[in-house]
Amino acid sequence: MLQVDIDTRDGGTVVIPRGRLTMVSAKSFRETVTAEIDRGSGEIVVVDLSQTEFVDSSGLGALVACLKTARQSGGDLRLAAPSEQVTMVLGLTNLDRVLRPRPSVDEAFRD
């Protein structure tokens, strides 16, 4: 189960997935975020993971796909405030190198 909230700010968008980002929800999450990237082309999209309880390999794949789309459109995708499980899977898959998570949404926008 995943609910995705969108918060539009000056210079970017915050995407807030609430619940579990797994093979059940990864495709619709990817479509939602891709639509936001298209709408605010070239802007920064921050994925606020503070309400994301769990991410599996399909969820990680969706984040990688969204990062690619954002960069192709001249923008960027950044992660903020991952939980302990999400921090662990980002580390085990080496994705913390390309999806460097920041401690907070504000820091993700600044960096």
Partner: protein, 138 residues
């Protein structure tokens, strides 16, 4: 006196929605397991969900009524998950599974499962695939 153990089992359809049932089973089981370091717990849960996802993704074949069973077991020494499914044998060698590169969108599931627990094994028992995951508690 018998040793304290925690055991839960479910049998369900090979379908994406069954992942929620697996999360629920884990949520019922953890309080019975007792204290487990957060890293061990998150790792075990990650591996269980990855293998459940792998079964759903790859074992469906052409039968709509395929099912899998999951047993969760814990004693003072180990956490163990055993999956049995009646899908076709997976064409893979766990020894050669490697993590996908950072720019790949897929191909991380089994490598992530292997990295998250101490042991992952896949055996064939008659017409069933048997996945066993183990994490040591110490």
């Amino acid at each position: 006196m018998t040793e304290d153990t925690a055991y839960r089992r479910l049998e369900t359809a090979v379908a994406p929605a069954s992942l929620e049932a697996v999360f629920e089973l884990l949520a019922q089981w953890w309080p019975e397991v007792g204290e487990v370091p957060a890293e061990t717990r998150f790792g075990f849960e990650t591996a269980v969900i990855e293998i459940a996802g792998n079964i759903v993704e790859h074992s469906r074949g052409d039968a709509d009524d395929r099912r899998f069973a999951l047993e969760l077991f814990a004693d003072s020494a180990v956490l163990r998950a055993t999956f049995r499914d009646d899908g076709d044998p997976p064409l893979l060698d766990l020894e050669t599974v490697r993590m996908a590169d950072e720019d790949e969108v897929s191909g991380r599931g089994l490598a992530l499962a292997s990295a998250s627990v101490d042991d992952v094994a896949l055996d064939r028992d008659g017409d069933r695939n048997v996945w066993t995951l183990e994490s040591r508690r110490t």
